[in-house]
Subunit: 200 residues, 2 copies
């Protein structure tokens, strides 16, 4: 994308440099493809800056995103960029060792969010992907007030990217950068199923 | 994204398996962010399948996409997935060693497209990213008939992802999967410039 010029310069008391490096809350939403894929593409840039990257996948199936996960794990271990932590709700969060919780998706989502809160408070990472995080919000498993307050009040220089359809209006309002992925045409419309290398 | 079911099953004489593995022509267009980023995210999946990946960047500045380029180069050399070839118009295509051509963007774009045609004909790769390829089309530097005919008639199992604003209607018609990235909110609207780790 060509480099853009600001439409206007705000009167917010910040220097251009401070404003430029303001940590961003980013939302990728809409019915089209590319919401998560673009978030993982952004993670490549963060990795290249040497930033610690964390991914929290709020999806049921542990098989989703295997390509992205493998790639980011290899990158994280390459010693060339930042480290990468990858956590999946679908196979039980890595920091939990309690069997039997797997089937309670609401409880699992709350466990994931509690960990994100701890990591944000500790400034554990510089770039977070909260993948499919809009779903536990949509289904009422998490307290939206708590989520908005935590995200907007996070300390330090922590960028957060949230993906998923139907992002709540208040989340969109709170975000700095919002992209809506619209579906124009999809092979499933003409009977094609997902395929390896493309969908996973 | 949850796995979808086809809305209808086409009467095209293909088996489900053949249809499932049909190579895709994919277009990411629209004014929002994430077009290229999502294409590079898809490249992670292709890499993880062990597929040879090629990127052709039709951008002026060699500095763009440095994060993605570094990540895909490290992945390509890791020996864990497929190999990665990365070609940039902005610093002169790697297969050309003629000084003096750099400033003729139309000629450079034509050189890039000629190489893509050769590689598609030779089935050199399994997954191609033609980054910002809509611009030489928009500016009339390439023959759209030739581009559409070459892409739709490409042999074998070669997926092609094209990114950029203002994709021509005929390209959208020819494509199998089209996503329109719409801008909902962008930090530049409130005076913020691009920042490292996010825009590059």
């Amino acid at each position: 994308m060509p480099q853009g010029k600001p439409v206007s310069v705000p009167d917010d008391g910040l220097t251009t440099r401070q404003r430029r490096n303001r940590p961003l809350l980013i939302v990728h939403t809409g019915p089209g493809k590319g919401k998560s894929t673009a978030a993982f593409g952004m993670a490549l840039r963060a990795w290249n800056q040497g930033w610690p990257v964390a991914v929290f996948q709020f999806v049921k199936s542990a098989k989703w995103r295997i390509g992205e996960e493998k790639a980011l794990r290899v990158l994280g271990e390459s010693g060339e960029g930042g480290p990468v932590a990858w956590h999946k709700m679908g196979e039980g969060w890595s920091w939990l060792r309690r069997p039997g919780v797997e089937d309670d998706h609401a409880e699992n989502a709350r466990e994931g969010w509690a960990q994100i809160k701890r990591e944000l408070a500790a400034e554990s990472h510089r770039f977070y992907v909260l993948d499919e995080f809009t779903y536990p919000l949509k289904w009422g498993w998490l307290d939206l007030d708590d989520v908005i307050e935590t995200l907007t009040g996070r300390p330090g220089d922590q960028h957060v990217v949230i993906t998923g359809r139907d992002a709540p209006d208040r989340l969109v309002e709170a975000a700095d950068l919002v992209t809506e992925m619209g579906k124009v045409k999809h092979p499933m419309d003409t009977g094609q199923k997902g395929q390896r290398g493309i969908e996973w």
